[in-house]
């Protein structure tokens, strides 16, 4: 951790309009759950829909994308990254610091509101609130690492990230069995299943496989991002 890199990253992420944009996620989740809590439907199914499909399946990857790429891609695009790189700072330190900040923000804006939403709708029944929170924590960390890497390796990080999160995980993942197993969302679900009461949630990946895959993705993305940052090339202004 480098405190200066952390401070700059935090201000870049939370300053200006992006900070407000990030607030959309918790506000939306809490509003929807407040309505759901007041409704008379099957609350178990409502929680699965709201926390599973909306929270874990849609809002979390989008938040991870905005935060993960915003933690570094913006600086690379406008060239201000030179002020971090023209320093005797190990590149992995820059990456791990930015990753820590990105994970912290992703957690604050997703896992925390998911826990509150779950408690609001369903209390502590079946351990659902806690289960989805745990899923958001692990998946949020993995998304942050993956999207931070995308921010370093491509100038089209947002498009590539959206393609992964929406097309691969949602569309293809819903039809192709293999694709579904290679999805951060499903690894998060495996964790949720193991936390929730026996039989209340299901997932397509075993807990062991999910934990290993989450670790591999997070570590590999971090290492690769550090290596790529060390060889970052400055383009002349066209």
């Amino acid at each position: 951790m480098n405190p200066t890199v952390a401070r700059l990253t935090l201000r870049g992420l939370l300053g200006r309009r992006r900070g407000l944009l990030l607030l959309v996620v918790p506000v939306l989740l809490l509003l929807v759950s407040a309505f759901a809590a007041a409704s008379s439907g099957n609350h178990h199914d409502l929680v699965v829909d709201i926390l599973g499909k909306l929270g874990l399946g849609t809002l979390l990857p989008i938040l991870g994308l905005v935060v993960g790429t915003g933690a570094i891609a913006t600086e690379i695009d406008d060239g201000s990254i030179v002020y971090l790189l023209a320093k005797p700072l190990p590149r992995w330190k820059i990456i791990t610091t930015k990753l820590t900040v990105a994970i912290g923000i992703t957690w604050a804006f997703s896992a925390v509101p998911m826990l509150l939403s779950g408690l609001l709708m369903y209390g502590t029944k079946e351990g659902l609130a806690l289960a989805y929170t745990a899923a958001a924590l692990v998946a949020g960390a993995a998304y942050s690492a993956l999207f931070l890497l995308l921010g370093v390796v491509t100038r089209h990080a947002v498009v590539a990230g959206l393609a992964y999160a929406l097309v691969w995980e949602s569309v293809i993942g819903n039809f192709v069995e293999g694709a579904r197993k290679l999805s951060i969302q499903q690894w998060g679900m495996a964790v949720a299943e193991s936390v929730a009461a026996e039989g209340s949630l299901t997932s397509v990946v075993s807990l062991g496989a999910a934990v290993v895959l989450l670790l591999v993705v997070a570590v590999a993305a971090t290492v690769l991002a550090s290596v790529k940052l060390a060889g970052l090339t400055l383009a002349s202004e066209e």
């Binding site: 200066t4 300053g15 320093k87 190990p90």
Partner: protein, 305 residues
């Protein structure tokens, strides 16, 4: 004492050759890197500052490779060409952050000193996003010299500055050079480089065209063949009178322009010769215009030399 050595360096992007087999060594004092647009100045500076790998050859600082070697930044200060610099920070926060990133023992004191050097204390509480071009340039300077580097690299530092800011920055760089630091700046304006640089390196179209002190570069440019467009009361007669003189290298009659195109061997000789010849022959001169005095043509002459 720090020296950057560029040894047989080429850099290409796809099939564009941006830098073509350049060797030079940049030592203490002020060096100007002079060349027209697209000459490869930025590409060279990116390689000297560790932000671009040479395709072939080596770029070293006192023998240590610069590419993928972040330790060199203890000695190098870089003022990049681009303007963006965390515009949500104030000038003070920006320079302080740079001092902290260098791991300096007293970052606050270093930032204060650097801002004082560039005379930006008066605006240090304002966000850098609100600065003018010249102010940004000076705060960038402060961030580059906050760790008291032995080498300062500046890409087009005078771009967009008004004359007063230009003089201020020149003054600052002169002090740096006088301290025995290695200062390299790029520019496409000869006069700018001449005013400041002890030593000039000229690059044109990726090639190292000339190297030397400003007198030598001036001489190369002054004694190159010059072209003139001349109109007179009797072009034919003037042509035959001039062709006999050794300072005229070539004459041709341009029917369309109704003028003579004259190539002179050297500038001074020809400008004294022409009026004398005309007077002796009783010819009146209407127009004497240099035909290609653009910097581009000066540069292209240097390359072919």
């Amino acid at each position: 004492m720090a020296t950057i050595t560029i040894d047989k360096v080429s850099r290409w992007f796809g099939n564009v050759v941006a830098v073509n087999d350049v060797s030079m060594s940049i030592g203490p004092g002020i060096t100007g890197l002079l060349g027209p647009n697209g000459a490869g100045k930025s590409t060279l500076i990116h390689m000297m500052s560790g932000f671009l790998a040479p395709s072939t050859g080596t770029v070293t600082l006192d023998g240590a490779p610069i590419w993928r070697n972040q330790e060199v930044y203890r000695q190098i200060g870089l003022v990049p060409e681009r303007e963006s610099m965390y515009d949500y920070l104030t000038g003070w926060e920006f320079v302080l952050a740079n001092a902290e990133l260098h791991g300096l023992p007293h970052p606050g004191a270093a930032a204060r000193k650097a801002l004082a050097l560039v005379e930006m204390e008066y605006a240090q509480e304002r966000r850098t996003g609100t600065y003018s071009k010249g102010m940004k340039q000076r705060v960038k300077m402060a961030s580059a010299l906050v760790h008291d580097p032995a080498v300062l690299l500046l890409d087009e530092p005078f771009n967009g500055m008004d004359p007063r800011q230009r003089l201020q920055l020149m003054d600052l760089l002169r002090r740096f050079g006088a301290d025995g630091r290695t200062v390299l700046f790029s520019s496409h304006i000869l006069e700018e480089v001449e005013q400041l640089a002890r030593h000039i390196e000229v690059v044109v179209a990726g090639r190292h065209a000339a190297s030397g002190d400003f007198r030598k570069i001036r001489r190369l440019m002054t004694y190159r063949p010059h072209r003139y467009l001349v109109r007179s009361s009797d072009d034919r007669k003037l042509a035959s009178a001039l062709i006999a003189d050794p300072s005229t290298a070539g004459i041709e009659l341009d029917w369309q322009e109704k003028a003579l195109r004259i190539q002179a061997v050297n500038f001074q000789g020809f400008t004294t010769l022409l009026p004398q010849v005309a007077q002796r022959a009783g010819i009146r001169l209407y127009t004497v215009a240099p035909a290609d005095e653009s910097l581009e043509s000066v540069f292209s002459y240097l390359v072919s030399a």
